[in-house]
């Protein structure tokens, strides 16, 4: 990425500094300018990736500046700018360790190449640094946290599969962090400098999903005023993450299968084949084996997508990770809120561990975020947690639950499992939306 590359331009002529810096900025670089060698040496002490230096300047000339800069940062590539008249001195500059020289006026293509080569040289160091950081994170891929045996197996698997281009299917209930796993695989793969393109297949109707996936040509349908790349094409050189793959229509399943077999796409309204090179990761919270039996999902597509499976266990099957996760989110949200809370009280933590977490990690994250916001004490206490969690905590010590309580908990559970989608939840509960709304009001259930 160019936007974090700092280039220093040193020239005594204002108009050259202006023109050069404008041109480099148009290419996305960050640019600093100095009018003489002394100011330049100060700049080189800070964060500079490349210096482009005019050879003829009053006071300290380009060659002297080059020598001095080597004392401060021996790895800094320096490119010398020169006019036709002073090519001899440019050659001398090369002997003093300049990376290259460019002759004014430049040929833009030429200069771009010299700059890119110089930066690549510098970049190799940065890349090493990145690699080291990634190794440090090896057993905690960003927000995927856990020390349970099941999670350690998943980390191992991520490490192994990242290196290959194998197609991966991530299975897990809603809220278990399937997208985070996909991101971790991409970030650890050799495609990490390519794009990660995500699309949630369940949220789009068939026609829209197809144009999103495959793109379209101008005039392919009403409203297609210009051609557009689809997500598959955009993911070229990187990873495509297809979330909620179980929701796609039979027709899209056929089209997707053909793409996976040939790695060639056709934009809607076009017969021109476009080769793509993308790694496919899909995810679902549905039981696809059942969907295959019912004829809702193609078996051949299933086998294409499911070369490697990563099963993420629901949170209640790895309760030993709950304190770790709770503390992680606690820290995340106290920093964001700048509140002076020191931790989670023992009874509150016990309730968190005992609760069933139908909404999984996402529900835990939401609960902690809310608790940090409402908390008025030094610690997060039982009262700061949502009622659904504390009811269960109290229940273990008191009388059996009433029918109302049972109903309320069941509604909450279904809502959490379905991302608070009212229509979907009502269907599962076998009541209409109106009834569900009334019950939410009655039990004062809020998200």
């Amino acid at each position: 990425m160019k936007h974090d590359i700092n280039i220093l331009i040193v020239d005594d002529e204002l108009i050259v500094r202006k023109s050069m810096s404008n041109w480099l900025k148009e290419d996305g670089y960050l640019v600093k300018t100095c009018e003489d060698g002394y100011a330049a040496l100060e700049q080189i002490k800070s964060n500079i990736d490349l210096a482009i230096v005019d050879i003829k300047m009053p006071g300290m000339d380009g060659i002297e500046l080059l020598k001095e800069s080597k004392k401060i940062d021996p790895d800094l590539p320096v490119i010398i700018m020169t006019a036709y008249a002073s090519i001899d001195t440019a050659v001398q500059a090369m002997k003093e360790g300049a990376f290259d020289y460019i002759v004014k006026p430049f040929n833009p293509e030429n200069v771009s190449q010299v700059i890119e080569r110089a930066l690549k040289f510098k970049m190799l160091e940065k890349e090493n640094l990145l690699l080291r950081k990634e190794l440090e994170k090896k057993y905690g891929f960003d927000e995927i946290i856990g020390k349970s045996k099941k999670m350690e197996e998943i980390f191992q698997l991520i490490n192994t599969v990242s290196e290959s281009d194998a197609t991966i299917m991530i299975r897990g209930k809603s809220g278990t962090g399937k997208e985070l796993i996909a991101r971790a695989i991409h970030a650890n793969s050799k495609r990490r400098y390519g794009p990660l393109i995500a699309i949630s297949c369940g949220s789009l109707p068939e026609t829209l999903l197809e144009s999103e996936l495959f793109g379209y040509e101008k005039g392919a349908f009403t409203g297609a005023h210009y051609s557009r790349k689809g997500r598959l094409e955009m993911a070229d050189g990187g990873t495509l993450f297809l979330d909620e793959i179980g929701e796609i229509s039979k027709k899209t399943q056929v089209d997707l299968l053909r793409v996976l077999q040939e790695m060639v796409i056709y934009r809607l309204g076009s017969t021109k084949p476009i080769k793509i090179d993308a790694r496919i990761i899909s995810a679902t919270n549905l039981n696809l084996e059942e969907a295959i039996k019912d004829g809702r999902f193609r078996e051949d597509l299933y086998y294409r997508l499911n070369v490697v499976t990563i099963n993420i266990p629901p949170l209640n099957e790895r309760r030993e990770d709950i304190p770790l996760l709770a503390n992680y989110f606690f820290q995340k949200f106290t920093v964001a809120n700048t509140k002076e809370i020191v931790g989670i009280a023992g009874e509150a933590m016990k309730a968190l561990i005992d609760y069933d977490w139908p909404g999984n990690v996402r529900e835990l994250e939401n609960a902690i975020e809310r608790a940090v916001v409402v908390s008025k004490k030094k610690e997060i206490i039982l009262d700061d947690l949502p009622e659904t969690i504390t009811i269960k905590a109290v229940k273990t010590e008191s009388e059996p639950r009433s029918l109302n309580e049972f109903e309320k908990n069941r509604i909450l559970q279904v809502l959490n499992e379905n991302d608070w989608n009212i229509s979907k939840s009502a269907k599962i509960l076998k009541i209409d939306r109106g009834t569900l709304y009334n019950k939410l009001k009655k039990y004062r259930i809020e998200r």
Partner: protein, 179 residues
């Protein structure tokens, strides 16, 4: 006060149908109204030409941004003059990144310049691409790596002809949020 207008200033004689075309192009692309100033003559105010009659584009831009005061959002200068910059021997146009002014030369955009039969469609298509590209720079857009995108940097007319006249899916949202 600046009006939401892009003002076009012809430097020297420019065919009015070409100016009409580019006004329309700009309005269609950026959804910003255009206005036109009378012809402006620069010859006495900028450094004399170099390299066989090429004019210093950065000096012209600087002159425009300092000397021409209009209540416009952006100022686009169009000229038949051949251009060079303090660092490049030739160029089609130059813009102030995140600034007010852009300059485009018609000199090297016509087929005739390359000893080919005239073709108005090709010429106007190049003109459109260069103008929209340069104005987009003034709205903060930088070069794009997508070869089809209008923000791909072109160093010759073949590059210009090969890219599309449109913004790619990653540049388009940036443009929309910046204008």
């Amino acid at each position: 006060m600046t009006d939401r207008i892009i003002t076009i200033i012809p430097i020297g004689e420019i065919d009015s149908s070409i100016l009409d075309f580019i006004s329309w192009s700009i309005e269609e692309t950026f959804r910003i109204t255009t206005a036109r100033l009378p012809n402006h003559n620069l010859s006495s105010e900028i450094p004399p030409p170099l390299y066989g009659n090429r004019y210093n584009s950065t000096s012209i831009l600087q002159h425009l941004s300092e000397k021409i005061s209009v209540n416009a959002l952006r100022l686009l200068a169009i000229t038949e003059l051949d251009l060079y910059s303090p660092i490049f021997s030739t160029l089609y146009g130059e813009a102030q990144l995140n600034g007010k002014c852009a300059l485009v030369s018609l000199h090297r955009l016509r087929q005739e310049y390359y000893n080919l039969p005239p073709d108005q469609t090709i010429f106007l298509s190049r003109f459109h691409k260069v103008v929209i590209h340069e104005i987009a720079h003034t709205f903060g857009l930088i070069h794009c790596i997508d070869k089809n995108c209008i923000m791909y940097p072109s160093s010759n007319v073949i590059d210009i002809d090969e890219k599309s006249p449109l913004f790619c899916p990653s540049c388009n949202p940036k443009l929309l949020s910046n204008i």
